[in-house]
Amino acid sequence: MPEQLVFAMEVTLNGLMAGVLYALVALGFVLIYKASGIFNYAQGVLALFAAMTLVGIMQGQVPFSHLINAVFGGHITHFGWNVPGAVAIALTVAVMVLLAWLVQVLVMKHLVGQEPIILFMATIGLAYFLEGVADLMWGSEIKTLDVGLPQGINLWIDETTFNIFGYGFFIDNLDIVATVIAALLVAGLVAFSQYTKQGRAMRAVADDHQAALSVGISLNFIWVLVWSVAGFVALVAGIVWGTKSGVQFSLSLIALKALPVLMLGGFTSIPGAIVGGLIIGVGEKLFEFAVGPLVGGATENWFAYVLALLFLVFRPQGLFGEKIIERV
């Protein structure tokens, strides 16, 4: 088999894995957009906030210690205990639920019925706010996150492919775990929205707010629920990305990676987010592999957007989006 083809296969595999991660972030967007029509730019910062909170709880950091020290003097930083990963994750989920409730009560409740662009702006404001709060709470230095996910090259794949092609593929164990987690998460979300009472209510709200209200579904509760679920998805994304590249500000930029995925898949479709993520992941890796060296590299920054843009010109609602019907 020609060498280039084998390389391309490896790149494709890696692209698929990256695509799963993009899809993971995009899922959070889709959930909120479907249920409340809010395009939640803060999703990436939610992931950052969740990951920082998780690290902070695990290491027993005192929240706002930096600020307290600056205002009152003193040198408190840590409580002096370490919390095991599972407990810390549970606590972080609780924090994210609390955050969802606060967002709903303090912000989104007052903006019901505003134009979409205003809601979008509000979530950008929320993103700034959360980023500032996260930095104040836990400090802005780069942290390492380790909840016991395996990392490093997968030797089994390396050996198997070496025996077949004479060249060992480099696949990170973490990517494989991430793929499994994402699959489980999606299955869980689908089961939740199909088979539980709250899930059905969530879908009802997504379909029609007023009809849902008239059969006695509490919009407030559903929106808190949706933001909580989005917060949970953000936590999962934060754990995976945080383990991969450290918990730092750039984590919040994964939101920008998820946007073309959303465009491609459609803002309203969960399968769309996954398929879109895979297409973008494979597409940008292959493009960088094939064309990148010719034009100076780093094409990953923009390729996804241009691909999505070209795609939209032919299908304005994305792959799986609801058909846009316009009336005068």
Binding site: A122, G125, Y128, G132, N301, W302, Y305, L309, I324
Partner: protein, 358 residues
């Protein structure tokens, strides 16, 4: 008492179609111009020019440009940073290629080039609408920044990858470079802002502006009554791109002097200008000024209060700044989604009736 039409008789068509039809408004406008042109240049020093006045003037131009696109024509764009970069790099290439030509011409040409690029990226708006379009304009943002970073021709093969504004003058007065006097840079930007604001104000009152607003309010209905959406949308992109290009050129050449594209014209810049437009008020020229002033002053005020008065460490102040800006944006959107321009309109109505409100 203020802002009354009574007693202001129009005796000719020219009177009737003035830019500011109300007498009080007109005099206020002349007064502002007189102070801006006649008073401030004599009082200005380097700190005021660089910390407040220049960024305010330049961001105002950008905000007016974006307001035309978002506020008047309803096409949400997140590519402002990228388009400002086009203006900056066009200006740089022109400045280095034709050193003896006046800076005025360079900046205007840079605006023209940006307008062209903006129209190019505006073409998909004919098919894509709403948030899909907003995200699509991000393609422009990332692609343009990448382009200026990776293609050495744009930064004249300089080793650092930065662009530096060489010393250039207009009518014998140095405008760019470290030796430019504060008053000259201020006046240079002010002239551009005044002309841009006048153009924008008059465009939005006329046929072009009305077709934009028709497209914004409901594009299908507008199409049915005979507005050409292709023309309306692309003219909005062109005019908006022209202004944003000018502001980008000024931002680089006059204000910063040296620019690293990813840092100066990144996605944050797009959001910043969009915030100015939204907080100031969509579809209002005055709102663009108000929004720009607010977001330029806010960090300066926070820094003065936090670092100088309270003596907090700078990193904590920086974090607080994020929190406060974010919270203010949210509070503002909840309290007055139509921006400061709406507050101004309400105040004007009150003043009209004052002192007999009933």
């Amino acid at each position: 008492m203020f802002y009354r039409e009574a007693g202001d008789f129009k005796v000719s068509y020219a009177d009737d179609s003035q830019t500011f039809p109300i007498k009080f408004d007109r005099y206020r406008y002349y007064a502002v111009l007189a102070v801006a042109f006649g008073l401030i240049p004599f009082l200005i020093n380097d700190y005021w020019a660089n910390a407040i006045l220049l960024p305010f003037l330049i961001y105002s131009i950008a905000a007016i440009g974006l307001n035309i696109l978002v506020g008047y024509c309803g096409q949400v764009s997140l590519g402002t940073g990228g388009f400002m970069a086009v203006g900056a790099y066009a200006c740089y290439k022109l400045m280095t290629a034709f050193p003896e030509v006046s800076m005025f011409l360079h900046v205007i040409l840079a605006g023209g080039i940006t307008a062209f690029v903006c129209v190019l990226f505006g073409l998909p708006s004919l098919r894509i609408k709403g948030f899909y379009l907003a995200v699509a304009t991000l393609a422009a943002q990332f692609f343009l920044v990448w382009l200026f970073n990776r293609v050495p021709w744009f930064y004249n093969y300089s080793a650092s990858g930065q662009i530096n504004a060489p010393e250039r003058d207009t009518f014998g007065i140095i405008i760019t470079g470290p030796n430019a006097p504060a008053w000259a840079t201020y006046l240079f930007c002010l002239i551009f802002l005044t002309v841009c604001a006048l153009i924008a104000r008059n465009l939005t009152r006329g046929t072009v502006g009305r077709t934009w607003m028709a497209i914004r309010d409901m594009d299908i209905a507008a199409e049915i009554i005979g507005v050409n959406p292709l023309k309306a949308k692309l003219t909005a992109f062109a005019v908006s791109g022209f202004f944003i290009g000018i502001s980008g050129a000024l931002f680089f050449a006059v204000y910063l002097g040296a620019v690293e594209v990813g840092e100066a014209f990144g996605i944050q810049k797009s959001f910043l200008v969009l915030f100015m437009v939204i907080l100031g008020g969509l579809g209002s020229i005055f709102g663009s000024f108000a929004g720009a002033a607010f977001l330029v002053l806010l960090p300066v005020v926070l820094k003065v209060v936090g670092v100088d008065l309270l003596n907090w460490p700078t990193d904590i102040v920086a974090h607080f700044q994020l929190v406060i800006v974010g919270a203010l944006i949210i509070v503002f959107l909840i309290a007055e989604p139509h921006g400061m321009a709406q507050l101004w309109r309400v105040a004007k109505e009150k003043l009209r009736l004052w002192p007999f409100p009933h």
